[in-house]
Amino acid sequence: MKPIAHVAFALLVAGAQASFLRFVGGGAFSLALLAPCLVYLGLNAGNVEGVLTAAAIGYVLDLLAGTPKGLMTFLGVALFLLSRAAGVAVDLRGRAAFGVLSGAGALFLSVGAMVLLRYVLPPEAAPGVRLLPRMLLEAFLTGFASPLVLIGMRAIDRRFHREEPGLLG
């Protein structure tokens, strides 16, 4: 149930993000709040559960964002693995560290999409490096807003948390 709840939460976040950006910025800036979801999964979820959820979130993102099928699915799984690797290598605690990793994750998603699309799309249609400042701004804003996602993901984890029986008694 928890993976489904995570995917549903990611869907809610994507919808809220789209509405918020339309109302506030009108497209002047962007957010990638699914990156913190994937980062959270990389830091906290199990291997199978996490990678399946990450793939599902990426797949939904492909459908909602209109990117070529498989792009965000691949990048979502890749970000999950990178987050997991970062979590193993560095002891990440607190909202600030989560925000930094989320910002880096958002930048990874953007740059990864740009690089892959430049391989397959004609040069005039592919996103260029001129989008880099916009990507950096998106990464910064995503990192800034990621604690909100962290709160939501933690709430889902608490709701589906089960105590291991017999450990203490």
Binding site: A16, G70, V120
Partner: protein, 291 residues
């Protein structure tokens, strides 16, 4: 083999979830595919959720901006209203100044049109247009400024009247519509002579001593003839209306609409010197009447 797969199943799953989407991406990226049935099914599930979330977020933000964020709107509205009133007052003042500038420009053009004459600019500071009394305007210029009795008072549209009484600082102007005022005029078109006498009403005068034999029609413009010893020749006085030519008698009668509406005069020029010919007896004073 099965044991191997079972042993590395997580690794294989991760590898599959990396390779498969990448393959799908490279296979489909160059052409836009229609959504598959699975895609459509997922979208069918996710769209309503997205719609509800969008409505909730938009509604919350609009409620915030429409109600909560308007806490200080009343104070702002009051401040803006005050500023608006101030700006409207300033605008009205500017419009007044513009109108005044226009009037003064016209007076200046009148003055520059006759360089041999000298004028004294004056403002109207008092009005007495009583129905039974004199028709008088008071100017802010008096004998100290060079104003004198019987000096003509003009605006760009024509004759206002003449100075009747002078103090050191002010002058009373007897308007041409006063019953004691009589101005020698000519019909501009035919040069026929007559007098214009006031009727005591701010908007009316009448024609006097216009011979029946003279060519005169309604609409004729009357100008000063310069023969009354007060007004120089050629200043507009009014227009002929309601012309009546009776079967007998020496003169024809008419009503004269003055060129200048005395109720609208705010600035005027006092003609302090001019080419006034000292000829014939002044017609400005009617026989038997003294102002």
């Amino acid at each position: 083999m099965f044991q191997l797969i079972k042993r590395y199943r997580e690794l294989l799953l991760v590898a599959a979830l990396l390779v498969l989407p990448l393959g799908v991406f490279f296979a489909h990226a160059k052409r836009a595919d229609d959504p598959s049935r699975v895609d459509r099914a997922i979208l069918w599930v996710t769209r309503p959720v997205e719609w509800v979330v969008a409505r909730a977020v938009t509604g919350s933000l609009e409620a915030w901006s429409g109600y909560v964020a308007l806490r200080h709107a009343h104070d702002q509205a009051r401040t803006l209203s005050r500023e608006n009133n101030m700006l409207r007052m300033e605008r009205d003042a500017l419009l007044q100044e513009r109108a005044e500038n226009e009037r003064l420009r016209r007076l200046l053009s009148l003055e520059q049109g006759a360089p041999d004459r000298t004028y004294l600019g004056a403002r109207v500071i008092g009005v007495r247009l009583g129905p039974s009394g004199r028709q008088i305007l008071t100017l802010d210029r008096g004998s100290e400024d060079g104003a004198g009795r019987n000096m003509p008072v003009l605006v760009a549209d024509g004759v206002v009247g003449r100075i009747q009484a002078v103090t050191t600082r002010t002058s009373d102007v007897l308007l041409l519509v006063d019953t004691y005022s009589s101005i020698a005029v000519r019909v501009e078109r035919t040069r026929a002579r007559a007098n214009v006498r006031g009727t005591g009403k701010p908007d009316g005068a009448r024609l006097e001593y216009a011979l029946r034999s003279e060519d005169m029609i309604e609409g004729d413009v009357l100008v000063t003839s310069g023969t009354d010893g007060i007004f120089p020749r050629g200043l507009r006085v009014g227009k002929v209306t309601q012309l009546r030519r009776s079967q007998h008698g020496l003169f024809q009668e008419a009503t004269v609409v003055p060129s200048v509406d005395p109720t609208r005069v705010e600035e005027a020029l006092v003609l302090t010197s001019a080419d006034r010919a000292p000829e014939t007896a002044p017609a400005a004073l009617a026989p038997g009447k003294t102002p």
